[in-house]
């Protein structure tokens, strides 16, 4: 019951299926399973750590400077981007070469930045959720949602790119329609 509840929550609050955040990144990452998993995990790191940082930024910033929110979020993600690349570099050059592409794809995209803004908006509506734990949990949830959507797309990837699909719809257009139908089911579930 608890697991089903969790899955339903991840679906109905899924940023890709409900807000189309990170769709382009998902398509880039969908080329291979390894790439998809790597990207999903890196995005989860960015959304979780970024959400924690967003909590502090929101609380430190006054209403007067609200237009600077985007700049501070960008700087935060930029800092995380650098930290993760430096850590990877010192872990081993081969590992660095393997993993850095996932970091490049995952850092600045709608999935990560969208999560920070969505979490902030949610905290505005529900003040009881304006705490570091809820921010980090929401970030983790967004990453897990990306992972679930990645699974949904991977399951059909071969069929969506197969020669049976008409040439003009093969690949990305078919993926968009596929995600659209799944998104429709999620919308009907709400």
């Amino acid at each position: 019951m608890f697991i089903i509840d969790g899955i339903i929550l991840l679906l109905t609050s899924n940023l890709i299926l409900t807000q189309a955040l990170g769709t382009s990144t998902l398509f880039i990452a969908a080329e291979s399973r390894k790439k998809l998993l790597g990207t999903a995990l890196t995005i989860t790191f960015f959304t979780t750590a970024g959400s924690a940082a967003a909590y502090f930024i929101n609380n430190l910033m006054t209403e007067k400077f609200k237009n600077l929110t985007l700049l501070f979020y960008t700087l935060t993600i930029g800092l995380l981007y650098m930290i993760i690349l430096i850590l990877l570099y010192f872990t081993g050059k081969e590992k660095f070469r393997d993993i850095r592409k996932y970091v490049h794809i995952s850092a600045f995209n709608c999935a990560v930045m969208g999560t920070l803004f969505t979490v902030t908006e949610t905290a505005k509506f529900y003040p009881e959720r304006n705490n570091i734990n809820d921010f980090m949990l929401s970030g983790l949830q967004a990453g897990a949602g990306f992972l679930i959507t990645a699974f949904i797309l991977t399951a059909a990837y071969k069929r969506l790119t197969s020669s049976d699909v008409p040439a003009s719809f093969r690949g990305f257009p078919a993926m968009l329609v596929y995600l659209g139908i799944i998104s429709m089911a999620v919308y009907a579930l709400k």
């Binding site: 990170g22 981007y81 329609v177 596929y178």
Partner: protein, 201 residues
């Protein structure tokens, strides 16, 4: 000939949305009415054009990751005056567009295409090419928004038209996904046919 082709690429052959599948979330979510579309077109065009122009002064010798961060910071700074102006021009629309306005500042055209495409060109050519990439996005946004608004709400720029039956689902996010998928397919089909005709000639 070659120069002409590259400049027009962003409009048709290498359209930001239909070919490269970038910046699709604002189209899917906010591209359901022409009012939203106009505000988003303004924001996207202003932020992208100014950010890419300012970004072109960043030394190319810097490491890739650092350059990407600098581009994102530049666009976040450009966002501020664009947002302030938008609050004057489109006061009702800004709340409806919500976070997608801010997300335009980290769009893939700025963070990915700059390095892969624009900054490899000479400045004059880059400006022309960039304008056509922006116009390419704007055109898709306008077409998507007008069709979805007409079919989902029975209006055109908020004016009621005589529509017998409305497909409200088209105005929802899933409608955006499906419509954009169909649009991409039709666009590709037309391109295939055009290439076929060219080949025949």
């Amino acid at each position: 000939m070659n120069r002409k082709n590259s400049v027009f690429d962003g409009l048709l052959n290498d359209n930001t949305v239909l070919s490269s599948f970038m910046v699709i979330s604002p189209i899917i979510i906010c591209g359901d009415t022409l009012r939203n579309a106009v505000a988003l077109i303004y924001a996207f065009s202003a932020i992208t054009f100014l950010s890419v122009m300012f970004g072109s002064f960043v030394p190319q010798k810097l490491p890739y990751a650092l350059k990407i961060i600098i581009y994102a910071v530049i666009s976040s700074l450009v966002y501020i005056p664009v947002r302030l102006a938008a609050e004057q021009f489109f006061p009702d629309i800004i709340p409806r567009i919500g976070i997608y306005f801010m997300l335009l500042a980290v769009n893939s055209l700025i963070t990915v295409q700059t390095e892969a495409k624009f900054y490899r060109m000479k400045r004059g050519r880059m400006i022309l090419s960039l304008i056509f990439y922006i116009v390419g996005f704007d055109t898709v946004m306008l077409i998507t928004a007008s069709v979805r608004e007409l079919l989902a709400y029975g209006t055109v720029y908020d004016r009621i038209v005589d529509a017998d039956i409305l497909i409200s689902g088209l105005g929802k996010p899933f409608g955006g996904f499906i419509f954009l998928g169909l649009f991409c397919g039709v666009y590709r089909k037309i391109r295939f046919m055009a290439n076929h005709l060219k080949g025949a000639n």
